[in-house]
């Protein structure tokens, strides 16, 4: 096969993956809304199909360009999407058995891929000499892996921020309608007959899962919080390592390990905010919602590091656009 046909195959697979993720997103949200087991199966099958197409797109892109396929923003985005969906299917659905947040993950994948193809598409080409260093490989790989992990962590945090207030409201409603046992009420042993059906499903865990019928809904906020922390705790050292490798590469290429170039500055900002998150999580009064907001600010900063710097702020990293 010629370079051009590999490149075309890569593009086709990319589009197929994008459509598959859209379909998987719809099916996942439908599963969350209608709670039909079959919808989950459909979402998973389409999601895996999208993942395979995404992987094929990345590999064929590498063949077409004759190098590792992470040399520009388009390729980074494709790889991050792949890793996010892979991380979701493998770690969240497979290991943690949390199956209801797929719609959010596929939604993010769709956004990421759509950004890539509309703002950053470039044909497969060789790299400038400044990019020819094995430190580039290590730096870029770690940054992509870290972004995927932090991305999943922040997605979980978003769902947590949706879920936690709903749980609190449900708890308050329950306390208001049934006096605590010591006052003569039955406490959590009785389910609220007036509660809307979605409330009973979505807030089952903290308000007595024994009696409320176990229905599918968003996972309990404690699970979401713990999972989000796991992903960010994994992503943070990888991000740290990636930034350090970038500094080593910069020292080699530009003669200084750090120059407050916009990309460097924003990767530092992101690092500082996630460091703040890890500290916040270990501090009384910051745990929970406040820490979650810090994580979201960190994720916003990560997006700026990735996209805004390339689109609007000029710097040495602008070759990547």
């Amino acid at each position: 096969m010629t370079t051009a046909s590999w490149a075309r195959l890569s593009s086709d697979a990319f589009n197929l993956a994008l459509f598959a993720y859209v379909a998987a997103m719809v099916a996942s949200f439908a599963y969350l809304a209608f709670r039909k087991e079959r919808l989950h199966t459909v979402a998973t099958v389409i999601g895996v199909l999208g993942l395979v197409a995404n992987g094929v797109s990345i590999v064929t892109r590498g063949i077409a360009a004759g190098r590792t396929p992470w040399g520009n923003m388009y390729e980074y985005s494709s790889l991050i999407t792949f890793l996010v969906v892979l991380g979701y299917l493998w770690l969240i659905e497979g290991r943690a058995k949390v199956r209801t947040i797929g719609g959010f993950v596929y939604g993010m994948a769709v956004l990421w891929m759509a950004m890539a193809v509309s703002f950053f598409y470039v044909g497969p080409t060789a790299l400038m000499p400044a990019l020819n260093s094995y430190w580039r490989q290590i730096h870029v790989t770690s940054m992509i892996v870290a972004s995927s992990l932090l991305g999943i962590g922040c997605l979980l945090t978003i769902v947590y921020l949706i879920k936690a207030p709903a749980e609190r409201r449900a708890l308050e409603r329950m306390r208001a309608s049934t006096p605590p046992p010591i006052m003569g009420g039955a406490g959590v042993e009785t389910s609220d007959p007036d509660a809307p059906p979605d409330y009973a499903g979505s807030a089952d865990e903290p308000v007595g899962s024994a009696t409320t019928s176990r229905k599918i809904g968003l996972p309990p906020s404690a699970t979401l919080d713990a999972l989000a922390y796991k992903f960010i705790r994994f992503g943070f050292p990888v991000w740290t390592f990636g930034v350090i490798c970038g500094a080593i590469w910069a020292q080699q290429t530009w003669g200084r390990y750090w120059g407050w170039d916009p990309k460097e500055t924003w990767s530092f900002i992101t690092w500082v905010i996630f460091a703040g998150y890890l500290h916040a999580r270990a501090t009384a009064g910051w745990k929970g919602t406040r820490a979650a907001i810090v994580a979201l600010v960190g994720f916003a900063s990560l997006l700026v590091t990735y996209y805004a710097v390339n689109l609007w702020i000029a710097g040495l990293h602008s070759y990547a656009t």
């Binding site: 000499p129 020819n132 050292p237 003669g255 407050w260 500055t265 500082v272 916040a280 810090v294 702020i313």
Partner: protein, 540 residues
């Protein structure tokens, strides 16, 4: 002592203690971290003088009011501003204030032995088993098991009691991470503060010495720079550039002879991504360009003889390699003063091909190079080699000169030289009767390349690297190791004993249950195995 006198120092001490406590608190650290991030945002969104002085200048023209505000606030040099230094310093103090007591506590904990516990059933994980061995042997067996699992073990065999703990690496890692971060900050400040960075432009065959005035203003020195340059001599033997046929650059390298003031010399090949360290300075391949050798004479008097370093101004989206190279020869001793502007086309073939096809062709190789020139007379306003201000000048002639040619610059005609690569219609006319004594003649005997090298001195790079490595190494156990404590007590029960195992984990509690269960099994086996059905079993 009277009241007011005594209360003054004690209230001072109280407020100092309050400030110290506030600085030590995690809340302060988090807020300082977020402030540091916010300060860096300012530095990335507003053009910075050290990174892009031209953009700052443009901003001053476009937004005079905001420029004044930003100037006053130090926003144009955020990373050098007093408030950035203040936040960093406070973060420093907060870190130190937090780290010193923590480090002391850690050293104390490392020296102290694990403490025996009495009421094991109060711990979150607790199991009781009957085993066949007597308390003393059972306890030492349990101690061996725990030691094999890398617990720090304190054994009181006669008392049948074992105390064990694991996971001190978490705190060690966390402290290593934080101290390393501190070392990193200090090393960066010292290194950047005492060092310098500049660029040297050297034409093939020429030399350059590392000294302040040779940087042509393109030099940045640190705040604590002592003023001593290395004095290294750099002789450029050759410059090589490799391009693909499509014009994509593949490699650049400069072949250098380096000599230090102490007499040591070295041959070095500086390439992209392959800097050379010599005599305390680092030398990087930074840029390159063309430098024609030009000789300008009036009659027999040589007015200028040497390389003219050419530059490019490329609009966004243009391939710079397809653009001509521009430079100036300024003759300030003549009255009126004279400037010759030249525009070099290194590859005549590629240039005329792009004229014919309309598709810009990269000019990467010297192939029948030629220059367009313009002669300006009047008053020179500056000595810049990169620009010419023609407000007080007028153009007197223009023409074309190929490599190896000599032209009469006054009349714009060719004295000697031809080229097959240049169409006759463009080559210009041959001077009738040669040049007179008052005319300005210009020769273009050779075309060379120049290399731009970045020269820098930063003494703390190895320290920064070491601190960075320690940051990663410390971070992993700080985030992943969990601290666990386990106690075993054996009390006599007939010929055997009743074994109690209790413990807890401070982190990653979900994983501890599994570990605890397998630990209990191993300890039971080491104590001779279960004597009968466990009398009571409590698990969390």
């Amino acid at each position: 002592m009277s009241g007011p006198v005594a209360s003054a120092p004690s209230s001072l001490r109280r407020s100092v203690a309050l400030v110290w406590r506030t600085l030590r608190s995690m809340r302060t650290a988090i807020i300082l971290l977020l402030m540091l991030a916010a300060a860096a945002v300012v530095g990335s969104l507003i053009p910075q003088i050290p990174n892009s002085p031209q953009r700052v200048a443009a901003y001053r023209v476009d937004h005079p009011f905001w420029a004044k505000v930003f100037q006053a606030a130090g926003f144009f040099d955020a990373f050098g501003a007093w408030w950035f230094a203040l936040i960093t310093t406070l973060l420093f103090v907060s870190l130190v204030a937090c780290l010193i007591p923590r480090s002391r506590a850690m050293i104390r904990a490392a020296r102290a032995k694990p403490i025996h516990a009495r009421e094991l059933d109060a711990f979150p994980a607790f199991v009781e088993r009957s085993v066949t061995l007597p308390p003393e042997t059972a306890a030492s067996g349990a101690a061996d098991v725990l030691r094999r699992k890398h617990y720090r073990v304190e054994l009181d065999a006669p008392g049948g009691s074992v105390a064990a703990e694991k996971g001190a690496l978490r705190e060690i890692g966390s402290l290593a991470f934080h101290w390393a971060f501190l070392v990193l900050l200090v090393a960066v400040i010292v290194g950047k503060g005492t060092g310098y960075v500049g660029h040297a432009t050297i034409v093939e065959g020429y030399g350059w010495t590392d000294a302040r005035f040779n940087y042509d203003g393109d030099l940045r020195t640190g705040r604590f720079f002592g003023g001593t340059f290395s004095g290294t001599q750099i002789q450029v033997q050759d410059f090589q550039d490799d391009f693909r046929t499509s014009g994509i650059p593949m490699d650049f390298s400069s072949e250098l002879t380096l000599s230090a003031p102490d007499g040591s010399t070295e041959q070095a090949d500086v390439r992209i991504n392959h800097p050379v360290v010599f005599n305390g300075i680092r030398i990087y391949q930074f840029g390159f360009g063309w430098a024609p050798i030009v000789e300008v004479k009036r009659g027999d008097r040589v007015l200028f003889d040497g390389p003219v370093v050419l530059g490019q101004t490329t609009a966004p989206g243009e391939n710079p390699l397809a653009q001509p190279w521009v430079g100036f020869v300024k003759l300030s001793t003549l009255r009126p003063q004279v400037a010759i502007a030249v525009r070099l086309y290194p590859d005549a073939g590629a240039y005329f091909r792009s004229l014919a096809t309309g598709v810009p062709q990269p000019m990467t190789e010297a192939n029948a190079p030629f220059m367009e020139y313009e002669v300006w007379r009047g008053k020179l306003l500056d000595n810049s080699l990169a620009s010419l201000d023609t407000r007080f000048m007028h153009q007197t002639s223009r023409g074309l000169i190929g490599k190896g040619w000599t032209v009469d610059a006054t009349r714009g005609c060719v004295v000697s030289g031809t080229s097959d690569a240049i169409p006759a219609s463009l080559a210009g006319v041959t001077c009738p009767g040669g040049g007179g004594p008052a005319t300005l003649s210009m020769a273009f005997p050779d075309l060379r390349q120049y290399t731009t090298l970045q020269i820098s001195r930063d003494a703390t790079v190895p320290w920064v690297l070491a601190a960075a490595i320690l940051i990663v190494l410390g971070l992993l156990p700080a985030l992943y190791v969990s601290r666990r404590k386990v106690w075993v007590r054996a009390r006599p029960d007939g010929t055997g004993s009743i074994l109690q195992v209790g413990g807890f984990a401070l982190q990653r509690k979900d994983r501890f249950d599994e570990e605890f269960a397998s630990l209990v099994d191993a300890v039971t086996t080491a104590a001779g195995g279960a004597a009968r059905r466990a009398s009571e079993e409590v698990s969390p």
